[in-house]
């Protein structure tokens, strides 16, 4: 991963970790993400992707979360 470019969460590879750099979401989705631990500057790891273009399994701190790709697209990350 190029350290100078930021990319969206769904472009990470399984096992890859990054830092959340920005979140593009309306207020309600933003609040939900924040409550689950998605905050700018937090480290996030993509654990695995479901088959058939299914949801992503990510880990932030002690919490494992699944979210759809369409939602993951709104989260920008940069390399560690």
């Amino acid at each position: 991963m190029n350290p100078f470019l930021s990319q969206t969460l769904n472009n990470l590879k399984p096992g890859e970790a990054a830092v959340i750099s920005s979140i593009d979401a309306d207020k309600s989705f933003f609040l939900r993400l924040a409550a689950l631990g998605f905050r700018i500057g937090k480290q996030i790891e993509l654990v695995r992707c479901a088959s058939f273009n299914g949801p992503l399994h990510v880990r932030i701190g002690s919490t494992d979360i699944i979210l759809r790709r369409s939602e993951a697209k709104r989260i920008q990350v940069r390399s560690l």
Binding site: F29, L36, R48, C49, A50, H57, L67
Partner: protein, 596 residues
């Protein structure tokens, strides 16, 4: 009476704590302006009798999800003496925000750090005294699952209750709910000073199990195998129990009720035995299935596997507007629609839940299977029969897909699909049993009255006016069958089969019995006569109609109770009737056109 609300994020063990505090005294209550069921219980707390209310899980007081709106509405419309915030100790670094938001409302509150056993194992230590000082509310560590320190928590809560509360008006709370607070910064500062977390977190055992259960290739096969085993267990263990209940009911009927009613007029004993008593019997038949279903479902849910199932099948479901948890319920609907409908309560988005509830009644349940086994044995050879059954399952799946796709814009899901995967946990026997018991109590309270009334009504239709042979052409049911002949003839259903469909509205199990009454024959003789009177095209059309038109009275009543709307129940009935007619019409007319 003091009023206490339990509030917390999902997966914090809030309901486990509620069950521990309330035992089995919990009941479902109605609250002003709130359309979801809230469990509440009266408990003794210090010297007070208090009403404890279990609020739905929420992430943020300012969030827009259905549950978050319910909680906001509840907080601003009910006068509360105490709000107990339940948090998962292992995730306190992000869950503290709720406590800060509640405190800002000015409500008397306390924080319970639940799952302290798990946090300790993970190497997390929390200085609850320091946290209490910083937060300005009592903080107690407990384990609701094992009951550790629950008495202390109760004592602390009683202490807060006995303090004089400043009156707070709803306006104030409403105003505060709109305020943007700097929760983030305060949470960080409190966590920094009172919580110590190991750098490397992560549940090793859970990760190892996930590697296997969420494997890109093995995950789905394991999921379907697990569902198959659970399904077989519920319905194979349920069958003898249902038979046992039916045997006991018949025994009581022949040995006690019938001798007792021997001198009453026929219509009265008919009404009491075939109407009221059979109605109660219909309700009772569901008890074993509901208990078993929720024993298994509690294990699947509380173990953390249900969210993982959602992960595995979401790709398939998203296109239909459903999610993976809904898929599990639809699968379970192939056993029995009633508990499957009740099980949709795990889905927290109202619209997605409604869409799931709309498709579940289309799944070919075991009661319908009995009718089809009889009909296929009557009308087809032994080599054809399995193929016909397979075709019926395919039709069932297709109607589910079509219905979901047609209605997904009507019941558009407005919540993002983002779920926590909790670590794998074993629920305690107590948790499993309590759940099964609560669900049965709920079903009996809500459904038994309407189901009994429905059975009595069908009895009346098929037995009145007095003095006629039951289910004969001159009864009300026969007359209704005649009225509908213009609609039913184009799909090959004659007036006698139409009467069987009226019986089938109560329960599919009684359709065969109804046919025996209608034709006045039993067993092989009945099969023989039906094979003479019906050709396979008519029989198939009847089966297609039976599959789709309406599952049974109990399903409709459950649908109405779960959706809290007669309108929704009617939409479901009318849609399935229309769909059944169209499918049967297309089949019957094309088969006839092709010369069959």
């Amino acid at each position: 009476m003091k009023r206490i609300a339990l509030l917390g994020m999902p997966n914090t063990g809030k309901s486990t704590l509620f069950n521990r505090l309330s035992g089995s005294s919990a009941r479902v209550g109605n609250w002003p302006g709130i359309t979801v069921d809230l469990m509440s219980a009266k408990i003794l707390m210090g010297g007070h009798i208090a009403e404890l209310i279990d609020l739905p899980g929420l992430y943020d007081l300012q969030g827009y999800s259905d549950d978050e709106q319910v909680v906001r509405h509840f907080l601003s419309n009910n006068n509360l003496d105490l709000v107990i915030i339940v948090a998962n100790s292992a995730q306190i670094d992000r869950q503290l925000s709720l406590a800060i938001q509640i405190r800002a409302l000015g409500l008397p509150s306390m924080l319970i750090l639940n799952m302290s056993d798990e946090a300790k194992r993970a190497g997390i230590s929390i200085d609850e005294k320091a946290m209490s000082l910083k937060l300005g509310m009592p903080v107690v560590k407990i384990s609701a699952k094992y009951g550790d320190h629950c008495p202390e928590a109760l004592k602390t809560a009683a202490g807060v209750l006995s303090k004089n509360k400043l009156p707070i008006d709803a306006e104030h709370i409403n105003g505060q709910l709109q305020q943007d607070l700097n929760v983030e910064a305060e949470m960080e500062s409190i966590v920094d000073e009172t919580v110590q977390m190991p750098i490397q977190l992560g549940n090793d055992l859970t990760s190892r199990i996930d590697k296997f259960l969420l494997h890109p290739w093995l995950g789905l096969p394991i999921f379907f195998a697990a569902m198959y085993v659970l399904f077989q267990f519920i319905f194979n263990a349920g069958k003898p129990l249902q038979d046992g209940i039916a045997w006991l009911l018949t025994l009581f009927r022949t040995n006690a009720l019938e001798p007792l009613l021997i001198n009453t007029p026929t219509w009265l004993s008919g009404l009491l035995l075939d109407g009221v008593y059979n109605g109660l019997g219909t309700v009772a038949a569901f008890i074993p299935i509901i208990v078993l279903f929720f024993l298994i479902m509690t294990m699947v849910e509380d173990s953390g596997y249900l969210s993982r199932a959602a992960f595995l099948v979401d790709a398939l479901m998203a296109k239909m507007g459903l999610d993976g948890r809904g898929f599990v319920m639809v699968l379970m609907g192939f056993g029995c629609n009633v508990p499957a409908l009740m099980g949709t309560r795990v889905m927290r988005s109202k619209n997605m839940r409604l869409l799931t509830m709309l498709v579940i009644p289309l799944s070919l349940c075991s009661a319908r299977l009995q009718v089809f086994l009889f009909m296929t044995a009557t009308l087809f050879t032994t080599s054809q029969a399995p193929l016909v059954l397979f075709a019926l399952y395919l039709v069932s799946f297709s109607t589910i897909f079509i219905t979901a796709i047609l209605f997904k814009n009507q019941y558009k899901n407005n919540e993002p699909f983002i779920l926590e995967l909790p670590p794998y946990r074993f629920p305690t026997l107590r948790q499993i049993w309590l759940r099964g018991w609560q669900e049965v109590k709920y079903f009996l309270n809500r459904a038994s009255k309407f189901i009994t009334i429905g059975v009595i009504l069908v009895w009346a239709l098929t037995h009145l006016p007095m003095g006629l042979a039951p289910a004969s052409k001159a009864t009300f049911a026969g007359q209704i069958g005649d009225w509908f002949s213009t609609v039913l003839n184009p799909i090959g259903i004659d007036s006698q089969l139409a009467i069987a469909l009226i019986f089938g509205f109560v329960a599919k199990e009684i359709v065969i019995g109804a046919l025996a009454v209608i034709y006045g024959l039993q067993g092989d003789a009945l099969m023989h006569l039906m094979a003479q009177k019906l050709d396979w095209v008519q029989g198939m059309s009847f089966m297609l109609f039976t599959l789709i038109y309406t599952p049974c009275l109990s399903t409709i009543i459950t649908l109405k109770n779960e959706a809290k709307s007669w309108l929704f129940a009617w939409i479901s009935i009318l849609w399935s009737l229309a769909l059944a007619w169209v499918v049967s019409f297309i089949f019957y007319q094309s088969a006839r056109l092709l010369g069959f």
